[in-house]
Symmetry: C2
DNA sequence: CGTCTCTTTGACAGCATTCAACGTGTGTGG
DNA sequence: CCACACACGTTGAATGCTGTCAAAGAGACG
């Protein structure tokens, strides 16, 4: 726990596949191996309440899992990047919906019995359990962020987390401000204002490309991360 | 997800063992089976950063797992009641601390290898995995509560969740207002004010015993739960 | 060049926190 | 048995952070 922030993207690279170039590429989907599908920006992969018959793995792009309250408020549970398994449920239904953040390629696996996996399911079952443990750890860190941190701290944690993945100080966010806000439990206006404020304090830089952010003073960001 | 609130206590009964009677009982601890220890109110079971060599199971009472930020803000991750397994970690260290909420009895198990459990560890490993999945599900619901709900909704969810466990409309909270606040990401003042407000609206009743709450209008509470 | 979407900025309101004081119940010691 | 201290909880007033509502800026695309 301590100085770490809630890890955002659980896998190393690829950084931000959801750029314009890829968007175009995916409009004419490549021939897909069985169980592999391509999704465009904001396409639904499954919806809250759908029977949870499969697990999914991100091959390219970024996927978000989220839930929407009756009055429209949304909470993003997690962002999943290439290599991540998602859609794992204990019960029979999906309790979040999953959508592509940008263009994305996703592979699906028929759900297996975790209590007594068949021989051919064994490897998958192991991965599923590992993913569940990892998700739990991340969810726990995310809770601290949501429950006990200010807008500035939340955004700082988000940026640091992201730059840790891509090993760069200049990051290209795959998701919109709305996604960031709904992940951090804020509004888009607060996210925007916080970023502007960080820029005024010379901690980050916001080039004209809106989704590009340059971290100028990481130690200041880390300090904000308590 | 939907109408459900973040489940607070993951096991059925016993309801609120942390009352005065039991407190007294535990002052002279019963002879403990190996691996079983009794704790008084606020006793630490393990601390954040401690090597995670064991799992723990609540036999009686309630245990909270929590983390404290540098500036003293605290977030309670979870309350654990009799029957619950806690202290499960993926890494080598505990990322939260665990303390007894009231008097509590806790049993410990040497941690086992989940990838290749020995024959005698098999049953425990299965339980650990099941607990991890359950904890993940609860953490996800808790996140929605922390990120996207108002103080009133948080408190309503908390109360409903609790009364669901004990199957009673008159509940006896084992934890203080501070614990509730730190679980819900609020301050004690806000929790107190919210409860008072609910009482004014004839939704709950607050008898003189401060930890006793009677739910007078559950459907109104559920409505607050979105 | 105009439309559409995303983002930023501003003004204002409101909810939750902060700071402070007051109750209330419990346990202790005179 | 009562006085007092202490922990816990409630209430009040004021501040402030974040949300809400509204409008303007900036790119992308046709």
């Amino acid at each position: 726990m301590q100085t770490t922030s809630a890890p955002l993207l659980s896998n190393a690279l690829p950084p931000c596949l959801a750029g314009r170039v890829l968007d175009l590429g995916f409009r004419e989907p490549p021939k897909s191996p069985a169980g592999t599908r391509s999704f465009a920006k904001d396409d639904g992969i499954y919806a809250e309440g759908d029977p949870a018959t499969h697990y999914y793995k991100v091959l390219a792009g970024v996927v978000r899992t989220s839930t929407i309250l009756k009055d429209g408020r949304r909470q993003i549970d997690s962002f999943h990047v290439a290599g991540d398994l998602f859609g794992i449920e204990r019960g029979k239904k999906h309790r979040f919906s999953a959508e592509a953040v940008g263009a994305a390629v996703v592979m699906s696996f028929r759900r297996c019995n975790l209590d007594a996996p068949s021989a051919r399911d064994w490897a998958l079952a192991t991965q599923v359990v590992a993913t569940a443990f990892e998700s739990l750890e991340r969810a726990q860190r995310h809770k601290v962020l949501l429950g006990r941190r200010s807008a500035t701290e939340k955004v700082a944690a988000f940026l640091l987390d992201f730059s840790d993945r891509v090993h760069l100080d200049s990051i290209e966010l795959p998701m919109s401000r709305i996604d960031i806000a709904d992940y951090l439990g804020l509004t888009i206006e607060t996210v925007s204002r916080t970023l502007t404020q960080l820029e005024r304090n010379a901690i980050i830089e916001l080039p004209t490309a809106r989704r590009n952010i340059v971290l100028r003073n990481k130690s200041a960001l880390k300090r904000l991360n308590s």
